[in-house]
Symmetry: C2
Subunit: 470 residues, 2 copies
């Protein structure tokens, strides 16, 4: 109890007392002054000691619990959590989660995020189309649009998808507010309490969180060098009805693996045979550096079993919140109803502007430019990584990230890298149980040539240092 | 079976055959050529008769079923549905639902929607702020923002809410993509399978649809002249744990009733006593024509039991998709996580532009202008309605709609009105079971003075005509 003796709350601060108390306890826990599994004083004890209302302590404890600093055991009291998880959140997919302080992500070199840096955004071109829309459409630009999406945009996306090999009816295309919403809508239509959902392991846990929130049971199937382990998948499918298989077949997140054509076809066959759907999350297909085509599953979907979500957040501007769903005939109507029930429709102004952007050919220009830049970064990163002897990786031949394996728990690498101003995404961020992993993901979405050179030099030093004492 | 003899599908049409077949059958049903509860031919029979693949018939039947034209009885076959519901959809809350053809809603006079007409949108002012933002913020305007919302906007909304009497911490304010999304997020945080949710009866069924999608049980409590029937509510609360009470205390949709101050306070007391939350959907409070204040529940919320959602769709521009949630301390964090899991964040460009719009004082100007226009329409509509002897209504003293009662089933009025080019919203659209109702809602959001005068003259004629033969 001695740590609590020195706590002083400021009567005159503009900050509420519970926030003050929360900050103090949080710091004590982070600094290790209060250790994991140590018991905290009861609410009554602490409020008495600090001469504050019990509500103040209740609220501070609640906040600590919400943020994962403490946990409650029924009948025994309140205890300090293990702190690993908290540190990892800094490197998780969305660097702007509200529980992360801004200064923490303003690291020198950020290899941890797949979000493109804003200097790659085609701001001037988009400003031009927005103004054209405001002049052309006036008030209409601010009215509701159909829940399924602004028709002309669905038409221009239909044309673009055809160029990518995805043949579909305009009627089966929906515009949604980003891939995250697309996954959420698909879950609303297909996933109910107690349903089984298959995901890749490792995976983007932000998708699986949606399925969990619907009360689903998540089944993890490992990824091999050429895609999902289909034998293991079929074992699962034989034993139980699976509602949905969530996959990223091109430049998977986080492994950067692209499924082989055979696996892609076989996966669709399994979906047909066992009467399930595949949810394909396509966010990087365009960024192909090899001469081999990398077909989205949807282009091979002979039996209308693939729900195709195409995100523009990683190859355009994430803040626009735009993605597209191409859905099987059977669920298209229900998807539109789900969208309407969720937020009526996606911003009409943004949809109209993106439509014009596509029609004016600006999209193609942007994509070519982006691909050039990413290609150069990819080559440099591959070259630099090959200088580190202690790691292994498979050449992704596209996309914007590498998946690196070493002999060490990647959380240790991440911890040491952070101290040197470098953010990487350790493997455990891509498993539900945050299990220990020797892999980490390095992305070049936010790093220019100097960052890549300097950052990987520092990583090399870190590997050398860690190895030395051992 | 004779009606099917004449069906001809066009081999060379660009329209898929199943769509052609769907359209033909739909028209036959709508025209009454195939009657309610009449049995349709089996898939095999019809495909043989039309010489088409069975898949074509299967898909056409599926579409007819999804749109409510037909229903299936296990073991006996496919039958035509009663057609009332379909007609009502034309008048339901969101006139742009995809299953409604555009020409159907391009009626001469539209009293059916609460969505403001686009000539009321402050387009030039908003164009001005968007361009200021693009110049000021450049690429940042297209990046992710915090899931909880762009901080400066939360700050300016905090100030605006204070002027409205809602005192809260900026930390408890979230920006969301419209009230519909706000309700969806609250449901994700609080509503689970089998939970009991109380709603007003009649109500905005678009909200209750969200609760139903979460697997909740909906309990309807009638609205009286001064608000919800609190005796009946307390009976329910005594018997079972209720997770959420969904209310619109000011200018309720559809009844236009404003709760008395006593009822507002008593409702909060009940929420505290029975440990439940109130979800307050506030979309029209600003449009108050009386001298009496109309406090949002949230201003009276002494025990942090009210989740306050403020929509800007009915008093600003619906296509922007912007609303605000002020949430109790206990659920604020989880709401932010739900938002992040749902669509990461709301468009940053729109948030930045709306922030500047508020800061420049343009919002106040717009609101005063809108209130003037609505007040004149309200006075005219009240005067014109008082000329119809066969109806009764309570003066709403604010808002944008009247709730009218007559001796007749309002569906009959709506049907006759539609034939004369007038859309009204019949009462049954606001009950889950689409029960028959003698009430209908008339809104002046889309009608100028001439529309109001002419439209209500025609309604008067309709009442006279219907009464005459009887």
């Amino acid at each position: 109890m001695k740590f609590y003796e020195n706590i002083k709350l400021d009567e005159f601060s503009s900050e509420p007392k519970y926030i003050q108390l929360y900050e103090i306890l949080k710091n004590l826990i982070e600094e290790g002054a209060i250790k994991p599994d140590e018991k905290l004083p009861t609410i009554r004890e602490l409020s008495k000691k600090l001469s504050v209302n019990t509500v103040t302590v209740v609220n501070a404890y609640k906040l600590l619990e919400q943020k994962g600093y403490i946990y409650t055991k029924v009948g025994s009291g309140t205890f300090v959590s293990k702190q690993n998880d908290e540190k990892i959140q800094v490197f998780s997919e969305n660097p702007l989660a509200t529980n992360i302080k801004r200064e923490e992500i303003n690291l020198g070199i950020n290899f941890s995020t797949l979000t493109p840096q804003s200097s790659l955004f085609p701001v001037e071109d988009f400003k031009f189309v927005i103004n054209r829309i405001l002049d052309r459409d006036g008030a209409s630009a601010f009215n509701y649009v159909e829940p399924q999406g602004y028709f002309p945009l669905r038409e221009s996306i239909w044309k673009y998808l055809r160029e990518c090999g995805v043949e579909c009816e305009i009627d089966n295309i929906s515009i949604v507010s980003g891939a995250q919403q697309g996954i959420d809508l698909v879950a609303k239509v297909l996933v109910n309490f107690n349903d089984a959902i298959v995901v890749e392991s490792p995976t983007y846990t932000g998708a699986a969180a949606i399925f969990k929130n619907r009360g689903a049971n998540i089944i993890e199937i490992p990824i091999k060098e050429d895609g999902l382990d289909l034998d293991e998948l079929e074992d699962v499918l034989k034993k139980q009805r699976v509602k949905l298989i969530y996959v990223m077949p091109n430049y998977q997140n986080p492994t950067s693996i692209t499924y082989s054509l055979e696996k892609k076809l076989e996966l669709i066959n399994l979906a047909l045979k066992y009467n399930t759907y595949i949810l394909e999350d396509d966010f990087l297909t365009e960024i192909n550096f090899s001469k081999k085509p990398n077909e989205p599953l949807k282009t091979l979907d002979f039996c209308d079993r693939v729900i195709f979500i195409k995100s523009f957040s990683k190859i355009f501007m994430p803040g626009l919140r735009l993605a597209v769903i191409v859905s099987p005939f059977n669920i298209s109507r229900n998807l539109v109803f789900a969208k309407q029930n969720t937020d009526i429709s996606t911003s009409g102004l943004i949809q109209r502007a993106f439509d014009l952007y596509l029609r004016e050919g600006l999209w193609t220009r942007h994509l070519n430019n982006l691909k050039d830049i990413y290609y150069k970064r990819y080559c440099l990163m591959k070259e630099k990584l090959s200088e580190i002897k202690d790691i292994r990786f498979k050449d992704p031949k596209g996309g914007i990230h590498f998946w690196i394996e070493s002999e060490l728990d990647a959380t240790i690498i991440a911890y040491n890298a952070k101290k040197r101003g470098i953010a990487i995404a350790p493997g455990r961020a891509f498993y539900f149980d945050s299990r220990s992993s020797n892999n980490f993901r390095l992305s070049f979405a936010q790093t220019d040539y100097d960052d890549i050179t300097n950052g990987i030099n520092i990583l090399k030093e870190i590997f050398d240092e860690i190895k030395m004492p051992g």
